[in-house]
């Protein structure tokens, strides 16, 4: 079970990033949970200063932009 965390204090682009992540998970069939992280302290702990950012299993994958569905699918396919 993979964990995808979408970091962002609730801006439009962060919501879009979360939606894309959820769609990519549904389409890939990989078992994964998508979680939104809105708490600033937690976002800071990842060393992320621009949002949205996406974290897969604790590893920061993208910062400051909305990933494409293809990006998310590729991360899901990794080990």
């Amino acid at each position: 079970m993979k964990l995808i965390q979408v970091l962002g204090p609730g801006c439009a682009k962060c919501t879009e990033a979360a939606r894309i992540a959820a769609e990519a998970v549904a389409e890939s069939g990989v078992e994964a949970k998508v979680e939104k992280v809105e708490d600033i302290q937690k976002i800071m702990e990842f060393g992320v200063f621009s949002t949205p950012a996406v974290v897969v299993d604790g590893k920061v994958k993208v910062v400051g932009r909305v990933p494409s569905k293809k990006d998310v699918a590729a991360w899901l396919a990794e080990a």
Binding site: G8, P9, C11, A12, K13, C14, I40, Q41, I43, M44, E45, F46, G47, V48, F49, S50, T51, A53, V60, V62, V63, G64, R65, S68
Partner: protein, 329 residues
């Protein structure tokens, strides 16, 4: 490459195209009100769209090299003054949206970047933007665009420096100082293919978002171009009316629009005889001092510091307005 060549080919054909469309295809009389307006619209709309696409693509490529995390590291070791100038310039090229002002602010503070330097960045980022620059260039010429760029940077540098001198650190909310940031995430270097894709995405995102504002704005400009007599506004927004500068700054603060919506209005005002300084002050006030951004910043700053921020930036814009009205007139 091929698309770049096509771009120049199309760009070169704009004048004949707009004339052909207006006078041959639509059969409008040369020199008529409607003819003037339609020719202006048929020329300006594709021209500005083409310029916008090219510039947003170029800036997108540039931005694929610059991240907030990188900017934070560059600014971390800098003192005031040098730091203020650097922060203002980086504010222009760093990808930034006011919705992520809070994480950015905290990121800068936790890196030990002085408050004034952080403010130089926060002022320059929305105020000097590439869309405004290209629209000013396309509609009003390179001199106005250059003036806007230089004075925008100057206001950000000086306002940030003043805020730094005022020692406002204790007016930052306490919880901000308690935050422990993790090791900054350093993104893997993108491939050139990735950079081009990133730039194309930003073209789709930005041009897709602003083209409607632009077309409406150019239509208003076209109407004015065709019908409104020159010098209409000279009395109230001309350079003689000194009070029109503070008034336009005040009117600009509660207004919130992106640059694409403001600049055609700017062009319309200028065409009616408003003074350049007054109009520039209005534009800077609309895009640099916005209520939604203040609400976001309120989470990390106490009201006193927000007030100082508005006051110092507003004063800077005022000076720019007056300066231009004196120099240009």
């Amino acid at each position: 490459m091929a698309s770049l060549a096509a771009w120049f080919l199309v760009y070169g054909q704009l004048v004949p195209f707009s004339r052909w469309l207006t006078y041959d295809l639509l059969g409008l009389a040369r020199g008529s009100h409607l003819g003037d307006a339609v020719e202006f619209f048929a020329y300006d709309t594709p021209k500005v769209l083409l310029l916008l696409t090219l510039v947003v693509f170029g800036v997108g490529l540039l931005r694929s090299f610059v991240t907030v995390e990188w900017t934070r590291r560059v600014l971390a070791g800098k003192r005031e003054s040098v730091g203020n100038v650097l922060a203002a310039l980086l504010g222009v090229v760093t990808p930034f949206c006011s919705c992520s002002a809070v994480p950015l602010f905290i990121g800068f503070v936790t890196a030990g970047i002085p408050l004034g330097v952080t403010f130089s960045f926060l002022i320059a980022a929305p105020m000097v933007n590439e869309i405004a620059l290209i629209l000013l260039y396309g509609l009003l010429g390179w001199k106005v665009a250059a003036l806007y760029f230089v004075t925008g940077i100057a206001v950000a540098v000086v306002a940030g420096f003043v805020i730094g001198r005022l020692r406002m650190e204790r007016h930052v909310e306490d919880w901000v100082l308690k935050i422990r940031a993790g090791e900054a995430h350093v993104a893997e270097a993108m491939s050139w293919k990735g950079r081009v894709r990133y730039a194309l995405e930003s073209v789709r995102d930005i041009v897709g978002r602003v083209w409607k504002f632009m077309v409406v704005g150019i239509a208003v400009g076209a109407g004015i171009h065709g019908w409104v007599p020159e010098g209409q506004l000279a009395g109230i927004m001309g350079s003689e009316a000194w009070w029109s500068v503070p008034l336009s700054v005040l009117i600009g603060i509660p207004m919130y629009s992106n640059a694409a919506g403001v600049i055609p209005v700017v062009e319309a005002l200028l065409a009616k005889g408003a003074a350049l300084g007054t109009v520039l002050a209005f534009m800077m006030s609309v895009i640099a001092l916005s209520l939604p951004e203040m609400v976001i910043l309120r989470k990390v700053l106490r009201p006193r510091l927000i007030a100082v921020f508005i006051g110092v930036v507003g004063a800077g814009i005022l000076l720019v307005g007056w300066l231009f009205n004196v120099v240009v007139a």
